[in-house]
Amino acid sequence: MGIASAALALSATACGKSSSEGGSASTSDSKATKAAIAYDIGGRGDQSFNDAAYAGLKKAEDELDVDGSEAEPSSGEGDADKVQRLTSLARAGNNPVIGVGFAYAPAIKKVAAQFPDTTFGIIDDTSVTGKNIANMVFNEEQGSYLAGVAAAKASKTGTVGFIGGVEVPLIKKFEAGFAQGVKDTNPKAKVLTQYLTQPPNFDGFAKPDLGKAAAEGQLDKGADVIYAAAGLAGSGSIEAASKAGKWAIGVDSDQYNQAGLAEYKDSILTSVTKDVSDSVYNLIKSVKDGKPQTGEVRYGLATDGVALADSNPKYKSMTDLIAAVDQAKKDIIDGKITVKTAP
């Protein structure tokens, strides 16, 4: 085949130029800031994590006149591919370059050293550090703690459910906070925990039918509030809880206001929001303002980086519940309650 032999011939002359040096002449000499995000598995359109990052980039494009670019991963790729992607984004003059998700950590470690004048952002990781690296991290466990308080208050059966998408340390933070919140509010309450898939099978973030089946199982065991931290799969558990006339708690964005879930929104008690889009926007803005963020940038309850949504009118009418949640929030911010990050 022509292509194959061409590639073979080319690989023999491997001392050529790099993918970002030639070709499309980079126009980085103009003053416009160029920012880039490299997505996690799933890419744009996952209704969750990556879409939130895109929303931040979009906002920066609209409000800051930033020229944004995006790059998606290929399925089953390795660190070398991520290094190549970040390198070509940095060489093209993008600043900042943001890796969405902890999987980019080893790649950012390598690439950031080569481009000292470019700011690199990484979400959900503080293991790689450097002068030009901003680590954007969230206190998911704090938001989940509040969800636990709300769930314990709203539950009549004393049994609540937690559904995790994929059993990874990040999702265990959600579980730990939620379980602690439930137990602190009602020590006799029972928390049912289930994870949908194990890595490297990431279906648990993507397939609503898995979330639905898990939620139905927990409903059968008497749970009447179900908190799913499972990305797109969580919509299945919201559907199941709604059909059974029980409560669901959403995650990442305010799912009460999500168009795709409008049918079930009356059953969505609240959502634990994680402001990924603002973290992306803030980093781009800081670079444009000439004061790039560096080191750990933490988004917690105090800064509303994580929060509990109150869009559902039924939620607002539960004054007892809201009082308990507000008290817990205050205690966490004041340091009276320390929320565990691992179950």
Binding site: M1, C15, G78, A103, D125, S127, P199, P200
Partner: protein, 372 residues
């Protein structure tokens, strides 16, 4: 004899060529149907492949695919469908990473230990399917698929920090700890930040030669091919078919275990949640496309590596990079269809020729069927 070989060669090449051409045409039709320029993405990919850093990625990926596809191919030659290459590859990479990180030995020994552990783990995992088949008659297709799922769960359990896993401070990833530098396989640095060609890529190529030699020049290889053609006939002529099944499953698993080594020894030096997956499934297509022939597989591996790596920047140019997945998917179907078409054509052609020769009163050459 010469003439027949030429025929065989043409017929042998016709299958893959037909499959590739039709998959390219169909992919272009898909692009057209979605209102995109059908030529531009392919031109962009070829342009991408001219860059040194992409070439390094292509070469490295070719080595990984080559090893995994050899693992599949050795099963195919035995009429065994080892779908579990992916699970064997992941489990072997994980276990050998754990062992590699827990010891410190002088360079070559350290690498050797990791490689041997990987081979043994892969062979063990495939061997389970082999034993199930020889003792209980369980189809290896079913058992290897199930072993993939079991490997996933097993790895998820083993990599918990309570067992062998390490969660680096501030990271949300789980790893098996970093292997000491004595366990890194040296690569060839291509300079200017273009990356390294993994040293293990050359081991992969060498194993291709070994594969060819063992299958075509040894008694074992002959037994293996004979059992693949007809188990009962092989048994009748004194080959222990059950032993052959188990042995080839073990070899297949061992090779599958090796296919994680380029990445582990040359790049990541640890097994983490983001270790590449799916290699074993792509390898099935590559082995099919390469017709289980070591040279054919090499070209097929190179083509698939090219499709995967050269498409990496397509989305930046506004084209969905999923077109390469569409292309790979179509190749699978096209390969099966075109091989069958070519096979039928070949048989008909042979019958015609025999008929002609008979009509002409010539003697029938008996060696015609033997090599088919």
């Amino acid at each position: 004899m010469k003439k027949i070989d030429k025929d065989k060669l043409i017929i042998g090449a016709a299958g893959p060529v037909l499959a590739l051409v039709s998959s390219f045409v169909l992919t272009m039709l898909v692009l057209l149907a979605t209102g995109l320029d059908p030529i531009e993405p392919i031109r962009l990919m070829i342009e991408n492949a001219e860059y040194a850093d992409i070439q390094v990625l292509i070469v490295n990926q070719t080595g990984i695919f080559y090893l995994a596809a050899l693992a599949v191919a050795i099963g195919f030659r035995m009429n065994l469908f080892n779908i579990g290459v992916d699970g064997q590859y992941r489990l072997a990479a994980m276990i050998s990473a754990v062992v590699g990180a827990s010891v410190e030995l002088p360079g070559p020994l350290h690498i050797l230990l990791i490689v041997v552990v990987a081979i043994l783990t892969g062979a063990f995992w495939a061997g389970i399917a082999g034993i199930l088949k020889t003792t209980r008659g369980v189809s290896e297709v079913v058992s290897t698929i199930m072993l993939n799922a079991i490997a996933t769960s097993l790895i998820a359990w083993l990599i918990l920090p309570a067992n062998f896993g390490v969660q680096p401070e501030g990271s949300n990833d789980l790893t098996t700890g970093e292997i000491a530098e004595s366990g890194w396989f040296p690569g060839i640095d291509m300079g200017q930040g273009n990356g390294e060609i993994y040293g293990f890529t050359f081991v992969a190529l060498a194993l291709g030669v070994v594969y060819w030699f063992v299958l075509n020049r040894t008694r074992f290889g002959f037994d293996l091919r004979a059992t693949g053609e007809s188990e009962s006939a092989a048994q009748a002529s004194g080959v222990d078919a059950k032993k052959m099944i188990l042995t080839s499953m073990l070899i297949s698993g061992g090779l599958a275990g090796l296919s994680g080594m380029p990445t582990l020894l040359g790049d990541t030096h640890t097994y983490s949640l983001s270790f590449p997956v799916g290699v074993g499934f792509t390898a099935i297509t590559i082995a099919l496309l390469g017709r289980n022939n070591p040279v054919g597989i090499l070209f097929a591996a190179l083509l698939f590596a090219f499709l995967e790596k050269a498409s990496s920047n397509l989305d930046v140019a506004g084209y969905p990079k999923e077109i390469t997945q569409i292309m790979q998917g179509i190749i699978v179907i096209a390969v099966v269809v075109s091989y069958e078409l070519v096979r039928r054509y070949g048989t008909r052609r042979q019958q015609q020729k025999v008929g002609e020769e008979l009509a002409a009163g010539g003697a029938i050459k008996t060696d015609k069927e033997v090599s088919a």
